[in-house]
Point group: C2
Chain length 551, copies 2
């Protein structure tokens, strides 16, 4: 067996190591265009600020290590420029010498990754404008940002964009974040990003949503960034983080089938349309595990596992890649935002029926010091209760709850199962009713009809005169500090005595701070014959939406 | 509907609140022997040291709150002394007045909890000897430990015992921990407790294993604690945390069926042998979800959910309590120990076939600052790979991985599913190959035969002359700092060149630090025809066992 692997980072390096473990006798050659293999791309933004201080830490492994431990023939600075499928050969260019040569293969694994998008904007090639993909990029960026510059512009508020912003702010650089969409973190639903927006603003970030760069010019102060609206920004560095495109040139020229957004199409065994050629990692089209539709989900975890599985199949094993559910996470200063499975907007796009609930629990028992708040959003099938997606934003413990939901989605669990989930409880770690149980209770109650719910935005979209009567069941003090427009206030504890004040000929929507007291009030009013719903997730959820509208 | 509930803490209070949400018209009376309802028993140890400073924080809710919000008839300081099942009445004693009266019921929910064990040892009633169950207990303990005492003895190294020890040490009190078994945290497997033992000793705790208190006497310095071995300890306070017994007197006298350890037997609807009487919480027998055998698992989370479900059934809903898998966690200084599902010893006791693996990963990417180590143990069915149990000990992130395993067990997932779990990865939160994926890889490799493994203790139990040749594939430097007795050292990177030094007529057991390089070496040697196994979990796992032997 002669196995060639193109690309030596996450998917390629995993495939190569796995291949050697499966076969001591195979000839395995790993081609990497850059000088490094298997570096920690997810750590690059933190090297910019020096939070990760030692550059060597970013080298997960080295060509030398791969040679000594796995007897791999590792060829760095070697670009694979063409595939001849009929001859089963590839053409390789040594970047240092320009020499080209041909290698034959029995099997070929493509792990070329994805390249940062650089739109054809005037001035895009000016010095001081960067993208961030590898160690060479980060070296260049670091040399600029540690040179005493005052202003930076990051274009694109996705995961990498937000990480860059945090690290630039940590360096004391005045930072502007420009995002084409009306929200940060576009994979998440917009309202869930409100706390991130507030955090960015609190940290002094100049956040410019619904805008894009239209052109770049050299200016006295560095670079003038012209925006679509006509406004101009000034910075000494511009970093683009507006997404990636699959590195599909080799595959395209070889006539391999492509899928969504030009990603390389593979089957569940990671084979391309040529069964002797596999593809893995950020360059491939995968099945979205929840929506069961083709997608491109460029993440490190799936890339590693795909590499491993492709090698398994090369050596005759049966594999079945189950697709990806897009579990992703980002730290933004002391906040965490994470998601898994489908988002509300992806469900809407797919025309898939769903319901949603919000809870706003603390990460652990409130009576133990240091509890931090989070917001969890759970998306589920309205009939079966099957969990379709989860999103979380807040302090400590968001990652844990999203991971729990990720496993629940993988296993096909329902919200009724989440009611019963038995998670570890001691006061430092959780609650007797964990946030996951709470989310399960609320969602299951909604499906069972115990807990009729109206979504905040459904109210906001209604003409004022068509809205139900809004009944705020919090304390007068909470009410006085902000309420839904037009709401009246009767505390839940007084409600039973004041039923006569409520209309029997008009729908009532009750709400409290997070949904819990609203639920109790809903139960009381339902049983007394009122036409009542609870505003899902209460005033806190309303604030997430209201802030969105004000953004 | 007239519903009486006996016991107002976790299960009882949950049942009462749920019952009211289901029915505004029901008459619901909650009887509680103590002065408080629904207090935070899991927080009590932290109030001893003042880590939880405000006593009011321990009151999760109050009788007044339950009355105003849920219109519950809450009767504290009221002891239910008898049930007349034929008449469907209970007899109640008002503890303040001594007055007794009778209440009728349609349905009755028993949530009496469990009482700390106090063995009939001479002197057990001396002042200064305490158990810890409620706020009155903790008030008494706090008044002693904040009075300038120097020495404390805690008897019992379970969850509460360890929490008490931590909080006594935080107060600067010289603390001895006495445990009957040869290990701390008896629900866990012994080797997994080694880091806890080391931590306790590092914190100056005098740990006395395999011992028990035989008698207490008043002495000049406080209390003399005579141990079974004849040794004597001195302390000004003794706290017993040696386990609990179900409060089954009422149920017993009413002729209700009891189960294991005298716990009240219930069916999947939480009904006792009398269908009008339910029982929930620490006093009941439940089904062990993994072992499918009756058990008693007194934990707050299950108690809360049982209370809720019993109320559901009272009001005509179909419920099915799935049993408990015993997910539990404890913080011991900066360490966390947690478990879910079956332990190795419970599987052995049950005669259930299993295999096990250990991994020793960091909680997040090693290249990001602040990574902390943990040890995870995974127990699984040797044929199907179904996950049966998990245990973790270490720094940050143990709780997350145990929660993920808990959901996997609930869902019936296998180690092959764990290979594919898609958890949230950014460098602060995890790794592209999360500890859970790593555990899945190792376990699945073992089942597939990729990765023949021998357990550390299997080697330790063999007579030296029957042991396989022990091959340490770490670096010479690692080897020089400690190795398995009789091992020879060939670094994995040199192994392929030095095969001629290895015997072909004798089994070889390879090992490295955590199992990863040992696995690579095993793959190399297997393919070259050697009779080889990897020592599961490597030298770190060996150390866990070796320390156990030295304890």
């Amino acid at each position: 067996m002669k196995l060639l692997i193109v690309g030596g980072v996450a998917g390629g390096a995993s495939a190569a190591a796995r291949a050697r473990r499966l076969s001591e006798d195979a000839e395995i050659i790993l081609f990497e265009r850059g000088p490094d293999v298997s570096f920690a791309n997810c750590g690059l933004p933190y090297y910019v600020s020096g939070k990760i201080a030692d550059r060597n830490k970013l080298l997960v492994t080295t060509p030398e290590r791969l040679r000594s431990r796995f007897r791999l023939d590792v060829r760095t600075s070697s670009s694979v420029v063409a595939i001849d499928r009929a001859a089963k050969t590839i053409r390789v260019r040594e970047l240092s010498t320009g020499r080209e040569y041909v290698e034959t293969y029995d099997k070929l694994i493509l792990a070329p990754g994805a390249a940062p998008l650089t739109p054809p904007i005037p001035g895009i090639d000016l010095p001081g404008i960067f993208t961030l993909r590898n160690l060479q990029d980060v070296d260049r960026i670091k040399s600029v940002v540690t040179g005493g510059i005052k202003q930076a512009v990051v274009v694109g508020a996705g995961f990498i964009g937000l990480e860059l912003v945090e690290n630039l702010v940590e360096l004391g650089i005045s930072t502007t974040l420009v995002e084409l969409q009306q929200q940060v973190l576009p994979p998440l639903d917009q309202e869930m990003t409100t706390p991130i927006v507030e955090k960015l603003r609190a940290k002094g970030v100049n956040l410019v949503l619904g805008e894009s760069a239209d052109g770049f010019e050299k200016s006295a102060d560095g670079i003038a960034i012209r925006l679509k609206s006509g406004k101009t920004l000034t910075a000494q560095i511009v970093i683009l983080g507006i997404g990636v495109r699959p590195e599909n040139r080799l595959a395209t020229e070889a006539g391999l089938e492509l899928g969504v957004r030009g990603a390389i199409r593979v089957n569940a065994s990671l084979q391309t349309s040529d069964p002797d050629i596999y593809a893995v990692g950020d360059a491939i089209e995968i099945q979205d595990f929840v929506l069961e539709s083709p997608s491109m989900i460029p993440l490190a975890g799936p890339a590693n596992r795909q590499g491993r599985m492709a090698a398994d199949h090369v050596f005759g094993r049966t594999v079945h890649y189950r697709g990806s559910q897009g579990t992703a996470i980002v730290g933004v200063f002391d906040l965490t935002a994470a998601m898994t499975g489908a988002s509300e907007k992806s469900l809407i796009r797919a025309g898939r029926p769903f319901r949603k609930i919000y809870v706003h629990p603390a990460n652990h028992a409130g009576y133990y010091p240091g509890a931090e708040q989070m917001t969890l959003k759970l998306l589920f099938d309205p009939a079966s209760g099957k969990v379709l997606g989860g999103q979380g934003v807040g302090g400590s413990g968001v990652d844990k709850r999203i991971d729990v939901i990720a496993v629940a989605i993988q296993a096909g669990l329902t919200v009724f199962d989440l009611e019963q989930v038995e998670l570890a409880y001691a006061p430092q770690y959780g609650s007797a009713k964990d946030p996951i149980n709470m989310a399960g209770f609320v969602a299951a109650g909604l499906i069972r009809g115990d807990h009729p719910q109206i979504d905040v935005e459904a109210i906001l979209k209604m003409p004022v005169e068509q809205r139900p009567m809004l009944l705020d069941v919090r304390t007068p003090q909470e009410f006085s500090q902000g309420q839904l427009p037009g709401a009246i206030n009767i505390s839940v504890d007084d409600l039973r005595e004041r039923l006569s004040e409520l209309p029997r000929d008009r729908p009532i929507a009750v709400y409290c701070q997070v949904g819990q007291r609203g639920y109790i009030a809903t139960r009381i009013l339902m049983q007394r014959g009122f036409d009542v719903v609870n505003v899902g997730g209460g005033y806190k959820t309303y604030r997430l939406y209201a802030q969105v509208q004000n953004a």
